[in-house]
Subunit: 441 residues, 4 copies
Amino acid sequence: MIERYSRPEMAAIWSQATKYRIWFEIEAHGCDALADLGVIPTEAAKTIWDKGGAAEFDVARIDEIEREVKHDVIAFLTHLAEFIGDDARFVHQGFTSSDILDTTLSVQLARATDLLLVGMDRVLAALKTRAEEHKHTITIGRSHGIHAEPTTMGVKLARFYAEFARGRARLVTAREEIAVCAISGAIGTFANIDPTVEAHVAEKMGLAIEPVSSQVIPRDRHAAYFAALGVIASSIENIAVEVRHLQRTEVLEAEEYFSKGQKGSSAMPHKRNPILTENLTGLARLVRMAVIPAMENVALWHERDISHSSVERGIAPDTTIHLDFALHRLAGMIEKLMIYPDKMKANMDRLGGLHNSQRVLLALTQAGEQRESAYRLVQRNAMKVWEMFRADGTAGDGTFRDLLHQDADVTALLSSAQIDAMFNDDYHLKHVDTIFERVFS
Amino acid sequence: MIERYSRPEMAAIWSQATKYRIWFEIEAHGCDALADLGVIPTEAAKTIWDKGGAAEFDVARIDEIEREVKHDVIAFLTHLAEFIGDDARFVHQGFTSSDILDTTLSVQLARATDLLLVGMDRVLAALKTRAEEHKHTITIGRSHGIHAEPTTMGVKLARFYAEFARGRARLVTAREEIAVCAISGAIGTFANIDPTVEAHVAEKMGLAIEPVSSQVIPRDRHAAYFAALGVIASSIENIAVEVRHLQRTEVLEAEEYFSKGQKGSSAMPHKRNPILTENLTGLARLVRMAVIPAMENVALWHERDISHSSVERGIAPDTTIHLDFALHRLAGMIEKLMIYPDKMKANMDRLGGLHNSQRVLLALTQAGEQRESAYRLVQRNAMKVWEMFRADGTAGDGTFRDLLHQDADVTALLSSAQIDAMFNDDYHLKHVDTIFERVFS
Amino acid sequence: MIERYSRPEMAAIWSQATKYRIWFEIEAHGCDALADLGVIPTEAAKTIWDKGGAAEFDVARIDEIEREVKHDVIAFLTHLAEFIGDDARFVHQGFTSSDILDTTLSVQLARATDLLLVGMDRVLAALKTRAEEHKHTITIGRSHGIHAEPTTMGVKLARFYAEFARGRARLVTAREEIAVCAISGAIGTFANIDPTVEAHVAEKMGLAIEPVSSQVIPRDRHAAYFAALGVIASSIENIAVEVRHLQRTEVLEAEEYFSKGQKGSSAMPHKRNPILTENLTGLARLVRMAVIPAMENVALWHERDISHSSVERGIAPDTTIHLDFALHRLAGMIEKLMIYPDKMKANMDRLGGLHNSQRVLLALTQAGEQRESAYRLVQRNAMKVWEMFRADGTAGDGTFRDLLHQDADVTALLSSAQIDAMFNDDYHLKHVDTIFERVFS
Amino acid sequence: MIERYSRPEMAAIWSQATKYRIWFEIEAHGCDALADLGVIPTEAAKTIWDKGGAAEFDVARIDEIEREVKHDVIAFLTHLAEFIGDDARFVHQGFTSSDILDTTLSVQLARATDLLLVGMDRVLAALKTRAEEHKHTITIGRSHGIHAEPTTMGVKLARFYAEFARGRARLVTAREEIAVCAISGAIGTFANIDPTVEAHVAEKMGLAIEPVSSQVIPRDRHAAYFAALGVIASSIENIAVEVRHLQRTEVLEAEEYFSKGQKGSSAMPHKRNPILTENLTGLARLVRMAVIPAMENVALWHERDISHSSVERGIAPDTTIHLDFALHRLAGMIEKLMIYPDKMKANMDRLGGLHNSQRVLLALTQAGEQRESAYRLVQRNAMKVWEMFRADGTAGDGTFRDLLHQDADVTALLSSAQIDAMFNDDYHLKHVDTIFERVFS
């Protein structure tokens, strides 16, 4: 986990203290269920809650014990006994370590996902607000980095909104994948622990029951979970790359907020860099790198081996922490993004109306020209505009239209009025409402 | 695509012929919608179906044209005009190439997924049949590759069934992710094409409408799709690794079917190797390797770039073809897997009853011993058995029980009858019904 | 393998025909060595060469046999016997299938690498030629996509040259990794085959000897090989991304060659898209995706399992074929890249000299100002220029200089002549020779 | 970084304190070079060393400044000025932040690699010692997990030694890749800093000069570096998987050292699990997961963007720390691995001599039988032995030999003495010396 890409709320979920607290709760709820079954004394279950519930577990002390016994759960239980006394022997009856470890991981991942959903919602809210704000802000759509036809900044943002709405749905599904409880004993057979214990703990910890475990919860669940996070990270990268493009000097249609006193470069005082979105691009890679190891974790040997454990000690906290941070950084970036509609319009217009080339092509075809020759007609005029633009950085307003007027093969097919009528940008935006309705309603 | 890991049904979905047929259908349905809107003559739409519907497109001819125009859709349209004649100019009106390409990919992926679901169902059926057959076949559960406690072969298979049932659900979701249609024109604004065309084509091709496209269908959908396939591949590996373990010489509790005339090795005639499951292990890696590139495809530049295309030309056919093949190979392997219950029992019993160590531990604790000292008591006897087993390859029936009878510290806590009662394997299997009910009902 | 991203020379290396030819050569050279050892008759070895050397192996026939015996090498040997007759029984004496398969893979990968080196050399030559051509073509250097300080197009290309020179060295090393021969018998012990056979075959096939094999050549070699290819692919992406940026409409400092008759878009006749470099970006992902599976192949079970095989059937041909294609596409793209020096200069100058902000900062510091306040002085003037540029798309020539002249805090430290002297672009290019010397000599 | 998989020596390289110390050294050496050039006063350079050399930088204070200026290097320089006073303005003259950051990363990676080489050497030494110890310890070689032919434990270990020797060579190369210094100023043009500064700093910091940088050191170097680590990690997994197999209950030919007081399972006191090698298997995945992000980092935008930075903040420390830990854990595991030669022999012999099937096949062929029919002859006897073994867990000593004696088709070709002579295990080990010589000399 990289400290600087961490928010305290999420980091807290993965602290040692939280982990031991969840361990305790699982054990203690388990004792309640065992007491109900008559396996252990009801008094003992009560004592465990009384003494353990208030306990501040000593992480350093547990570490010390673990160094000796080389087993983390045993170390914890030993420490717990220091609080609870004699009744400690009733704790963990028929449990196996993985019952605790895996169920705890489920609790932590579920809680982490709840925080991630908060982050997603903040991103969605920001995207929606800015999309509505710029619903009609015209901007050139670009395919292959080349000007194509107009769209609006709102449509761009609506597109990201729809993508994050899908991401949110995937995250909800992913949460269901991993929010499961297994208290099934040594090899998952409930030989030494009744299934009702599992049911009780599951309910208390807010989890579903794992239908069949084998000491461990099956790792296809976690693979699916981290894959969902990887897709969301890729969507973050998608927005980040868009903003980085919009901010590049020659485009400059948007800029990340740049605060007073901020420095873009230690060497070059004129710089204003899109560092947030570049950072998000990198964070996306960090989140995504967990996907393959999580999939490699699925094929454990027989009923389980522990190769997944070290992987998850890394990726479970790191990936959720970095994604959580990234979502809030992304949301903040969107909320404060400076968008320059005039620059968008100016950039578009520097190509002299070329973005209407398809309309002209269609009009010529409708006027009876074969597609192929119509294409050639449009292309030969378009390329002249292109050359002007390349030479001077701007092709001048109306240039493409003027050239069409001067092309006898074109005017043989289209009247002057027809040509002029095609240079009307509203034409491109007539379905913006349709799109917004699809996305936001 | 690796020929030998390909089934014809799936390969056919990805043939050039199929692709062009789908292209035609999308264009022709589009013409119907355009005719309804009055954009093109109704007669033209009819002619297109009449002449194109029966056409056998010439793949080589299209390739030839493409080499000249360097654009695949234009090459196809040129070829199509050779069939349709003059009315060809009404085809593709207001469409952009990606409308065709992306919607076609959706159709192909959806059809591929339908085949994958057939494969999944075959795997599920095989797992269920064999699970029920071996519901009570006792076998040792192994954690870390080390004997732990008994379970049944049926429980193992039920576990895989549950995993594949989850995989199937993920596949259904994945299909929904990618079964979408976009006919939204150059930059996704419907400037030159009415949204009703999209709606009509979508319905005819069995797809949902993409709410907001940008010339392309957003690639987070495909990333999620290939991620789902990667998780399923990992589950295939999971079963494969289990079988490979069961077949290894020292275990030999199961063997892949070995046909008459089959040769395990060109050099060593005695060999019977688990080549199907080793092959499946490799195929899983091949399927999984599509996941990261699919995620890298998400962040296209602005409204789209075409970097995703070459990636998908590889991974879309290859991954679905290999996974399809793997599912059927897996199903066949399971269906014919030779399972040796006697060997399972024999292997388990060679450890002299050690698999009851936890029961003894619990009994000692319940008899009032502290967990720590109870553990030591059991461990010191268990390790003696372990030494015997290691020295002789078998510890002898009842050895662990006998040692317990001879340990005064044990007999001080447990009666002779109590000790004997703990060496009853049914104890471990008492919840097999519970598990089966959870999984199969 | 994707047909359209394949060159015939490379595809030929991976054809079935080539494979069987190499199999034959290894077997026949082996027979020579066995004859020298007196294990088989010299006449037999001669017959094998005579009859097999001229044979046209029938791929379909071998496939047919394989379907029966389910073993590819045995199928080949059976077919070979159809040519050679009785002496066929002397072939493969003491060999194991993997001796043939792994050594053949080494030969194929080595030959493939030789072709890749040709491709690398073409890229290097193209980069060098264009670098020298544009050694002094001034262009703005951009960090974070934002104008920074000037450099030259030649330096950019020299940087890529240096990167590809490193890639070439890695490829040479990678070739050494995999150009090894193992003819060591069933489990690598030479029990049934003398090490001199291996030495003879290795020499004849142009390979080094694998010091210790275990039926297979260790897969860390192949992992290192595919990793090297993955790095080269990433370098291809690096150039591709640069060109895509240079071509984007607002920058347009370079364009991929656009041939007569080419169409950028089926819908928009004005388009000229950087499709080659976008394609290369995708191909880079395809090559890179082999890296992780190749690493997952390393940990085979005991002396070997065959999980690596299906992976390599995919990645060995596909990755070398796609990389080979990508290198030649890249080289061709660079060779014909249209570079626009005037546009580079114009783009740079639109920021009104801002790229000298660091010089001014340093001058102020040298004039005795504390770094912090000097920074503020420069930044406040720079940001004014920035605002102008953003508003108008150009800040006007000399604007930054003029503002400095008007800033009393600046002129208190720097004379008018000192200020003017800092707006001289040659200053930035004074070490271009140094850099070229480092890279090209 | 996961605390428990971290050794203090390696963690120290990545501490904030170390980082700031290196930053200081680079700046101070730079000042020396600038003083030599007459750019700054010699006295100032001296003061900087005097006051900064002894300084204890306050990490918390630097963090505090960074929160304000949002730039780490500026924050450091501000803090440095608090020590050095007025002469601080001479620090960082003509440098850009990346000169410091990238060169520091090089120093840290180079130092980390030196530690990794120590780890590699410890692994190599352990492998060599144990290989020599078990040079003649016969054990069955297994392909596909199935008994094949005998080898020795020493050969196994020699094989791993050769693999790690290759890994060591790759690591040395990888170190060269990244041990480079770049002090080339804002965009790598040396506009504001003379190349001699770079040369001086490089020499003092023990680095080579980066021939052409662009504010950053090209990231193909780091990609190659992390790829090399990924291959080594895969080799670690290779050994780990071997040991896990050897320790599994049914094999039990080796065991990880199990200390007094250790507990294999909280629930089952009889357990002795190969937890070290399972852990290493997981750590291998963690190291490997850095490879793809490092490759994704190569294609930075133009002269640089900062997307690589967050990735490297994660993977640079984490990957080297985890690999370092893994190497020492591996070495320790090998050093103390308990190897059971008797068990190896016993396991092999349980198959009744089947491992000589190839010898018999070859003998029959040499006696004039066609390969195909010889194969059938051997196979029909071998499969009988196999059935016995499967039924009883052991086929009985000499069973295969006895069956051959009873097979009239065999005895028609081979004399009784010839048959007996083939059941001599020394035959398989005759080239062990050859292999050891190849590997260790």
